[in-house]
Symmetry: D3
Subunit: 314 residues, 6 copies
């Protein structure tokens, strides 16, 4: 009973890998680990969640009197794990323009130090998100239910951490963190998106928020909402232009109901309400209500457009 022809498959896989590395101008033989690790980052995010919310997301046998010991040890371990991943990303970025290990290490340490210092502020932002979810959903029984259960809150924990990594110029780590959360919640927020306090995503599956989106305070969105770009801007030579603002600006207190799609660098004015399944590629004035049937100014919004607006499910 012979085995399978593993040797041949191994040889051919080596050939294909070699061709790939040649095509990508990578060395066929490298010294060690070259890429950050999804698995390590997944574990690290779990540690940070525990450090941010020890009694609710930390180990189930934690007690109040041991919180600080747990937070300190966990944070220390998580920041050193992050240091290693940060070095890998910086080294990877420098693969074409080599830098000394000392330079890379120095920059990585500065970044991680700044990241650690930002965590208390992130916790405050997240507390505002939790309160927003609790207030925004009449079906919520308590702030703790919201933190333990709501995928929108889980997504925001990951996003606020990923956004910090993005701002500290670790876009690859930021993206891995964002995609880990996307996989778990079905909510896809680019780590570059700027989101104000007290943001609430209900249900969440299918939500997509793009890199240059800017979202104000107390904004509420429902499942399957897209804040996307129109066609990518092309320059005179027909090349894609990167880095331009190309996603919506959503001002304070806006509500966007399920399935709405808003594309391009448009502005949704303060307090506007965008109805379910609406397809929008233009600015919306403050206070307006937009439904599949059209736009109503805030002034004329005395009627009850509610039927066509909402697709909340509570």
């Amino acid at each position: 009973m012979p085995g399978f022809d593993v040797d041949q498959a191994v040889a051919q896989l080596r050939r294909v890998r070699g061709e790939w590395r040649d095509a990508q101008k990578r060395p066929r033989e490298a010294a060690g680990r070259e890429f950050p690790s999804r698995k390590t980052l997944a574990a690290l995010i779990e540690q940070l969640k525990g450090a941010l919310f020890p009694m609710r997301l930390g180990p189930s046998d934690l007690r109040h009197d041991g919180e600080d010991f747990y937070v300190a040890h966990t944070l220390d371990a998580a920041l050193h794990a992050l240091l290693e991943q940060a070095r890998l990303e910086l080294q990877y970025v420098a693969r074409h323009t080599p830098r000394t290990p000392t330079e890379i290490d120095g920059q990585a340490r500065e970044i991680v130090q700044a990241f650690g210092a930002a965590l208390p502020g992130i916790r405050e932002l997240l507390d505002s998100d939790v309160l927003a979810a609790y207030k925004g959903d009449p079906a919520a029984h308590s702030v703790d239910e919201v933190l333990l259960c709501y995928p929108g809150v889980q997504a925001m924990i990951s996003h606020r951490l990923a956004h910090q990594l993005y701002r500290l110029e670790l876009p690859l780590l930021a993206r891995i963190v964002a995609e880990l959360s996307h996989g778990q919640t079905g909510i896809d927020i680019h780590p570059g998106a700027q989101i104000g306090t007290a943001f609430f995503i209900d249900h969440g599956t299918g939500v997509v928020i793009g890199e240059t989106a800017v979202i104000g305070q107390r904004v509420r969105v429902y499942q399957a909402v897209t804040l996307g770009a129109k066609r990518f801007p092309v320059d005179a030579h027909g090349l894609l232009q990167k880095g331009l603002p190309r996603h919506p600006v959503v001002e304070d207190d806006v509500v966007i109901y399920a399935g709405a799609t808003i594309l391009g660098r448009v502005t949704i004015g303060r307090g506007a309400v965008i109805g379910g399944n609406v397809w929008l590629t233009t600015d919306v004035p403050p206070g307006a209500s937009v439904t599949q049937a059209g736009v109503q100014n805030a002034a004329s919004n005395a009627g009850s457009p509610g039927d066509t607006l909402a697709a909340s499910v509570r």
Copy 2:
């Protein structure tokens, strides 16, 4: 090579936690575990799945002649784990109106006893769901493929367990169970939803079913279907009114194709067919076909509206 300033981050995180607890009127120092644990509930649900379907969802080395031993031991362990989580929820609920541990324990035991007694009935309901999936999808090769593969069936296992917890007045545990399933399947069913036998969700990603929805027998829904609420009802003082029926009633034998959105306490009559992407906020008579183009009565449904109705993918 100094470490990071962990001490400062720890101190600031403690301050932020303290402010949160003060704002939420929680004690800064508590005696022990205060909240149910997602991780424990996830493990418990896996045990219950094994106890319900030992040969198919239990351990891969189980044999027929050991089924009852496995079921008994697993059930015993799962029910005691549930008892502990039930105590935590009841205690949490009683944080403002303290009760004795004995009262809480007594109630928790009664609930868990009732939950255990309901399991055989739940298995029967789930068998009807499995058969519905098998019959409803011509691409299905066997009832076992359906149980092992279909996310809609996985979601129903979790929902029928979560709904039982909800009925037994453990809404927080119910919600955690529901959201664990939501994260795995992309199907978001509130544990309060009442769903009859032989329910089939195909594909499933993006389905949302609200708390007061009532679904009859042999109903079939496809991906991205929403059974939601319109704007929340407000009373004379402008306050949200909780607990009112606000989601659709779907009668027996209805089919709802992908992307359809049905909002409010409307009734979809027996045997009606709701086409893909339809946006509905009114009642539909029995036997009617609703498409993006409009409603057809059953009587006039001799034609072939199929093109616009379906978005099945098999």
Copy 3:
């Protein structure tokens, strides 16, 4: 403090299982494992991912000089694990028309041998998918980010493996692999779908691609796109006809924006662009642009329909 009435629940669960087995004409007592195992297949897919992309998806401490050792050992283990699962599926299929263990084993070995031999070709296809994602998304920083992060690429790794199992007549294993990926990415591709080189799915949540879909080269689709069937074809006796082509054919270089739904055995011509949220049940000529407003022929496509077409989010 008595325990719960586990004995009674066990007895009733046994009764329900017995009734199910009787109704399904299964033996009440069988010799051993009857079904493939999701858990085993999940582990096996992780091994294959590592064998295909050792430095990026393999163990984090792997080094270049140990790649072949790792690939050989992992592949050997994975193929033998697959052999066992293949035997289980073949045996399961043969439950009504018994075959000898030797026959089953022989066929299983042939299948696994062919599967192993196909892996280098699968790696080449996946490399084309990775490049397509890198080129198709201006926000992508590197091919490695794309491989590590993009759910669309993760989904294609699983799909190309599952499709190979499907072609080798292990549809149940193929389906389990596909649904494991669906659960992780929200992307639901039936293992039967035929997909050409350089396929790119962006964001991905809610994408559904049916069994008989045929997709050409360099095709790009966005989140929530459905390539589905219309109503199932029925024969003269009113019975469902299985196996007929019933999903779209998408030719080379087509782009389909977010939320578009294409149903039935229609053909989307080479280079066509299907706008966001479009609902399509007819053929589209090569080069055409289809928006919610209607179809434009390629010839007349000089204007800028971009606003209504795209729902990209980068």
Copy 4:
């Protein structure tokens, strides 16, 4: 930075393995697992210990009301694991005189059935050993301390299980079980040794008891006691004679103090006391006291030979 020359080491190790297999007349290529597994047996023994003493050696969260469920499931799993190991030993024994798998399986099943039926009797014997330890050691605080702590008791649990395997003609499994216990306790009892009720080994390190030793009831031995063979008996042709009784017979109520060595098929009469470090190769009459200084008949034992007898450490 090249790797190590693994390929060469692999090739040479293959050569050495091949030479060994040739010399041992083994096939160079065999179909599957050939030998029982230490690791599997170690796990199995832990399961059996739990099944025998559920509240004290079982899982730490077991409760009285779940004992039988735990015992049944654990026993079922352990007996099936044993069945697999028994098959491997029987098949291994039959490597020179092949038998059909059916024959081997049938015999293995009979053995395992008999083994399971013997467990209640083994528990009773072990209860007598625990009581003997408790009574024999004035420093013992409780029977439970004795069961949880005393290596002599741990060794007897393993021995009584191993002896049962030995009697059921699975000497290889028996030996592995015995050596696992030897490694943990430093007590080396051949699984063939016949030991009566209420046997107590104190401290235990260095105790060695041979295959044909026969030990009565209520016997007590201390650390470093040897019950061994003299030179192996040789027949007329100078060949070793196997299977002959060659270790001591120790009658009821004998005490043997630390470091004593008793060699050959001698009989230590009922109630005799053998002092510390004594070297003995002759019979001892009932009731006698043997010290390094010589033998005293029971009749003349009015003095106090205690000083030279004991090496107890309590």
Copy 5:
């Protein structure tokens, strides 16, 4: 292919357990966990070893700058785990003379608090033991080798922890800790033994030290040394007298070579040397050398008795 008769074995095992509980006057049904857990204590001791020697016995990725965080969190967790085990022992002791949970909890907390406070002193003692091993063994290359490798040092870490538990009146926990170490090192020290600073056990297998032994400073012993009791003292009624001093007193700077056996409440005077395999039941004056050939006074020790004294193996 029927299974084994598990039901019958379960029933008979239940009967035997019931008989045991009746005979031991235990309730047949109890509320919960009754006994401390070996497994929990084993994990706890590993935590304490890490907290005592973080860089050498803690996690392999620990860094100096994270030591205190690790120590604090580990200690906090270990002390709470100990609290639980302490409660179990106190409750077990009180099984015949019930006390309130509050009383038990209060006493357990006091004990654990005292235990935690004793740890720094224990570390200092252990540092003296490490130095003694380093100085006493010319083959030792460094103090760190001694700590990482020497079983005698491992045994002393466990003993000094176990002795503290013994002094704090948790003799059952102390005994379990001692036997765990005995199993790993072959060194059997009763937790009651009082041992001064800078104690060194070389090789160690077979060493046995009794409960009331008193050992001074800078004492050195080799493998298979016994410090035991003679026959247990019996009172006028023939009953064993517990708690009386019955093991040797070994004064400062004594050396005891391999295999020596010293029995009873004798005193080995300061600086005495006991040769290999010596059997001793009488006092030895300070400075004397005892060999198998007899005792030499220190004064006359000008010769070279070394040949018969030593059995060091370095």
Copy 6:
């Protein structure tokens, strides 16, 4: 219910660690891991055992046709793990006389390369040990039983690996490997001991073999045998002299029965037999039999001294 005063214990433990580091002239703050890790070495030895004896000590699901893949991957992983540990030891040795990381790395690589190249020879030696055990023990049923069960064989696997590390100047790693084996088997062999082919240790508990011992071919020893040093040689200044030969030389075909103690640089001549419990500090001529009663020359050995010689237990 306050917690324990962990902060104070942490502070005091820090003080004690600081004092220790000061006394040992170690930096209070170091950059990273300083010491080899017992745990890592334990895992590494398990890998090497598997690579040496894949079908018998490797994973239980290994098949012949996958042996080389397993051996290659395992060896590659083990050698790289060893490289890391070797670096740690070399760096540790260089703590007083710093060397560059490049020097250390270069030396570590050479050592590991040499170690890998030695493995096939080690396997050949171990095969001779296995055969010796099989031939030497009439109770052994097969060579495989011997390899799977006998602690003496387990000890020799570890010793032959440790001895190779010792010869390659990694004495600390060698010692850790030796002590791990000592803990498991009770057999204490210094890694420096030179041992010829076909060495057999029966039972083994309590065996101690010193650093400069030299053992020929086909030697057999029983439990509790010591091959030790007399008093350490002291030079003119009273200082211990290191590195001198100080343990016995045992020539080919010698048998040493249980409990015998041989001390100092004496020579046991070819074919000599040393009886049980003998205490020896002088040379023994070839062919002689030594018993507790005295020495018999080979010539006069016509009688039967067997009674006093043996303490075998088979």
